[in-house]
């Protein structure tokens, strides 16, 4: 295999692994956060505005770890710097 094929294969496999494993942690974390927020809402319905606001901020911060993995995946798939480097090398 030449270097371009190796880079393509490794990039695609790594992209799949990255988004797969990157989704596991945030999924568990968001589940726990929502479950605890629901418990808190059931116990103190008066504080619902504060709880909901904090929940949304927290969820977005948890979700951003998954988003980081997604960004890495997208970079690997659509604008891979190593791929682009070897494409320009072979062009010369």
């Amino acid at each position: 295999m030449d270097s371009l094929t190796i880079i393509a294969v490794v990039s695609i496999i790594t992209a799949g692994i990255t988004i797969g494993f990157g989704a596991i942690g945030p999924a568990f974390a968001e589940g726990r956060a929502v479950a605890n927020a629901l418990t808190a809402l059931a116990q103190q319905p008066d504080a619902s505005a504060t709880i909901t606001r904090t929940l949304f901020v927290g969820l977005a911060m948890i979700e951003s770890t998954a988003i980081y993995c997604f960004v890495v995946t997208m970079i690997l798939l659509f604008s891979n710097p190593f791929w682009n480097y070897f494409i320009t090398q072979s062009g010369n």
């Binding site: 977005a60 988003i67 980081y68």
Partner: protein, 240 residues
């Protein structure tokens, strides 16, 4: 498939490029400018307020209330910076309902520059509120060993702020693009609606995180007496 609106180039001369990010940012800025001019004409001081003034006051007061909920004592002095951040990101994300519009927040250069503004504003407000020496001393706060970690944290949270906004908006656009290939009839509409919600939540989060960072820089480890010295509001306990 393009990753960001940076790759759509309208005009190029040498190394100067006018890409879609710049054009749509200018568009959002123009909308702000025109609406500010229109609202300025609608402002009155007498009791008979116009509808536009009521709308503007609702927005300003809501932002002010959110800033003071974070713990900043005088929200009015941060309103210009933080309110602009929120309104810009929110409008840039909301305009995705118009076809052909590419959100400028879906480009890493826009979000990184917004995050750099926060990166500069945090020490600015910190030094303005607490003085240079007191602010710099806050980097060594729990103990002197924490100094490099505090500095690394300052830089990494700037990047996290930028990549969070970029990733959320970019993924929304990307998912709609993929949906158009798989199920082009109803699902893209649903995902667009979800994208609007995500856009508003992300605008709020960008704004609230910037407020939290500024609040941490201006009032961290402040003793109760210093707080009272800076606040003009007299507590009932102090009156007697």
């Amino acid at each position: 498939m393009q990753l960001s609106p940076d790759e759509i180039i309208y005009w190029q001369m040498g190394f100067i490029k006018i890409n879609a990010t710049i054009v749509f940012t200018w568009g959002v800025m123009l909308m702000f400018f025109i609406s500010a001019k229109v609202l300025e004409r609608a402002l009155t001081r007498n009791n008979k307020r116009t509808r536009l003034q009521n709308a503007l006051e609702t927005i300003v007061l809501a932002i002010e209330q959110q800033i003071s909920a974070v713990g900043l004592i005088h929200p009015r002095q941060y309103l210009g910076f933080l309110g602009t951040l929120f309104l810009f990101v929110a409008l840039a994300n909301l305009l995705t309902i118009f076809p052909g519009y590419e959100p400028p927040t879906g480009s890493l250069s826009t979000t990184l520059s917004l995050a750099l503004c926060v990166f500069v504003a945090v020490p600015y407000y910190g030094i303005k509120q607490r003085g240079l020496k007191d602010y710099l001393a806050s980097y060594t706060k729990p103990s002197f060993i924490m100094l490099p970690f505090n500095i690394i944290g300052e830089i990494s949270r700037t990047f996290a702020l930028a990549v969070r906004l970029f990733g959320n908006i970019m993924s929304g656009t990307m998912i709609i693009g993929i949906m158009l290939l798989i199920a082009p009839f109803v699902f893209p509409v649903v995902m667009t609606a979800l994208g609007l919600l995500t856009g508003m939540v992300q605008a709020y989060i960008f704004f609230i995180l910037a407020s939290v960072y500024i609040a941490a820089a201006t009032s961290a480890n402040k003793t109760q007496s210093q707080l009272h010295k800076n606040t003009p509001v007299i507590k009932p306990s102090e009156e007697n």
